[in-house]
Amino acid sequence: MEVLIQTLVAGILIGGIYALIGLGMTLIMGVMRIINLAHGQLMMVAMYITYTLFDFFHVDPYFSLLVTMPALFFLGAMIQKYLLNPLLKVESILPQNQVLMTVGVAMVLTEVMRFIFHSNYKSVKTSYSSAAFYLGGISFNLPMFIAFCIAVSLTVGLFFFLLQTDTGRSVRATAQNKDAALLMGINAEWITYLTFGIGAALAAGAGTLLLPIFYLFPDVGGPFTLKAFVITVLGGMGSTVGAIVGGVVLGVAESLGATYISMALKDAVAMVIFLLVLIFMPGGLKTLTKV
């Protein structure tokens, strides 16, 4: 019983960070209708920025959020403006050109980082990296717990932005119906930059929060890209609430898989869930709740 609760706790904590990754992806998917296959790589870039700040200037990883999130916001908006939006005007055989473009972006980001930092594993060793506290016999990893709390507050902030501000409403309007939004005087093109920027910034947040726990190398992005779209499909494409639920479900499922099946098959668990959802519930959890 204790093992089960411990597994669930670990799953939910990591799930909070997964939710952050999934939220960014689902926003991009909702507004632009594309899968961003560079999502994990954007996160990886943020992790390297955090690492550099820590290594050279001894900035605490949690403070570097203030640098990585704006930096990645800018990078994301630029990618959208100069690489993805121009493709809309081009006549091509495959409609998935934008998705293929993100594959190219992902490759370039990974290789540029490999060029600068080489393939070695890096990690950020803080004084609290392996600290833990206990609550009724269940251990909570301290950096994981802090990361979870920050992830939750970022999520709350995002929801406030989407539900309460005019710009946030414009984002939702564009996601629901781009043409109607245009007719209502929303600058839809500007909204796409904003959305990709926010998506990238959320991924950056997740990356920075993960760094005290996780190690870092240039190829770390790929698996997280896979996780991001598993979460998004699980929650229902374009659904923000779904992404949160999907993130937590994925975290718990992985954690259960690692404890009860095998460590090696942990990633396969995610893929199998993903396929089952695609086949039996293509709309994701969204179809159950209608949110």
Binding site: R33, S92, Q96, M107, A264, M271, V272, L275, L278
Partner: protein, 327 residues
């Protein structure tokens, strides 16, 4: 028409005399790899470029083919060449089953499903040690020490594959495929069973990719799951070969394959030793930049947008519409 024939015949003749004229095993190896990628790229192009179902999981069929050949040796204790016979049908069976799952899905959902299945295959091949030997991989003895027999086998395979796909896209099937790509619902309403023709397209594509996999096993003598089921080195590479050459064209993937393999090798060997060593690390970076450039400026690939590129360089102001669609 006559000029087109020559433009096909001359490269084939050049390729046929190449291994006899150039006695270097290194250069033969590069061209063998390029020919193998012609097979994979062309077959990816059949399902993605002609039928419009962009597969992110062609490593499934390549790996299935390679493991079929490898398992012939380790499990059945027969020659790996039997794999050349069995790999095609095996990959077709896998393709049919995957089709049953994935063809219910459209657009991005289909891409993601194939990607996920590819990852599952890779993980299973790693974990199922009793059969696949896991990460240790499968090591066999190559039959020939010289590369020349492999070279002609690869050439024959590439020729067969391109010719078969050429015939298929000009047959009734080909028109059904393009109809499904252009508008699946319209095709359905005209009585084209989209499931059946997508399955046929995927199975033909898988057949040739599986053959390429079995060839790889025989030629290299070593496979492991991280190589033959690799997302980046097989599945994504197949897509890159296709889009750089030109999707929905016969010769696009062939040209894309040569460009990609030659580029990769040029960088990997730091421009054959002319440039300093650090440049060899840049080959994937160059791929990425090339992909971004091609998608941004030549959305239909080098073959598909050849007219556009020529116009750009000759700077003539004629505004003839770029040729798109199937060749």
């Amino acid at each position: 028409m006559k000029s087109i024939r020559w433009s096909i015949l001359i490269p084939i003749l050049l390729l046929a005399v190449f291994p006899l004229a150039i006695p270097s095993d290194y250069y033969r190896h590069i061209i063998i790899m390029a020919l193998m990628w012609v097979v994979i790229g062309s077959s990816w192009n059949l399902i993605a470029g002609y039928t419009g179902q962009v597969s992110f999981g062609h490593a499934i069929f390549f790996g299935t083919g390679a493991y079929t050949a490898g398992l012939c040796v380790t499990q059945l204790e027969i020659s790996a060449w039997w794999g050349m016979l069995l790999a095609g049908p095996m990959a077709m069976i896998v393709a049919f089953l995957i089709g049953c799952i994935c063809f219910r899905l459209r657009g991005p959902y289909f891409n993601l499903a194939t990607l996920a299945i590819g990852e599952i295959f890779r993980l299973v091949a790693i974990v199922w040690k009793d059969v696949t030997e896991g990460m240790q991989g499968i090591l066999i003895m190559q039959t020939f020490r010289s590369k020349v027999p492999y070279y002609f086998l690869a050439l024959a395979l590439a020729g067969l594959c391109v010719f078969a796909i050429y015939r298929i896209v000009r047959s009734k099937w080909g028109f059904y495929f393009v109809a499904i790509r252009e508008d699946q619902d319209a095709a359905e309403s005209m009585g084209v069973s989209s499931f059946r023709y997508k399955s046929i397209s995927l199975m033909v594509s898988a057949f040739f990719t599986g053959l390429a996999g079995a060839f790889y096993m025989n030629y290299m003598g070593f496979i492991d799951p991280e190589v033959v089921f690799s997302l980046y080195f097989i599945s994504i590479m197949a897509i890159l070969v296709g889009i750089i050459g030109g999707v929905g064209t016969i010769w696009g993937p062939a040209i894309g394959a040569f460009i990609m393999v030659l580029l990769q090798e040029t960088f990997r060997s730091s421009f054959f030793g002319v440039f300093p060593k650090w440049i060899s690390e840049a080959h994937v970076l160059v791929f990425g930049l090339l992909v971004i450039f091609v998608i941004r400026f030549m959305a239909n690939g080098i073959v598909g947008d050849w007219a556009k590129a020529k116009r750009f360089f000759s700077r003539s102001a004629t505004l003839a519409p770029a040729k798109t669609g199937a060749e």
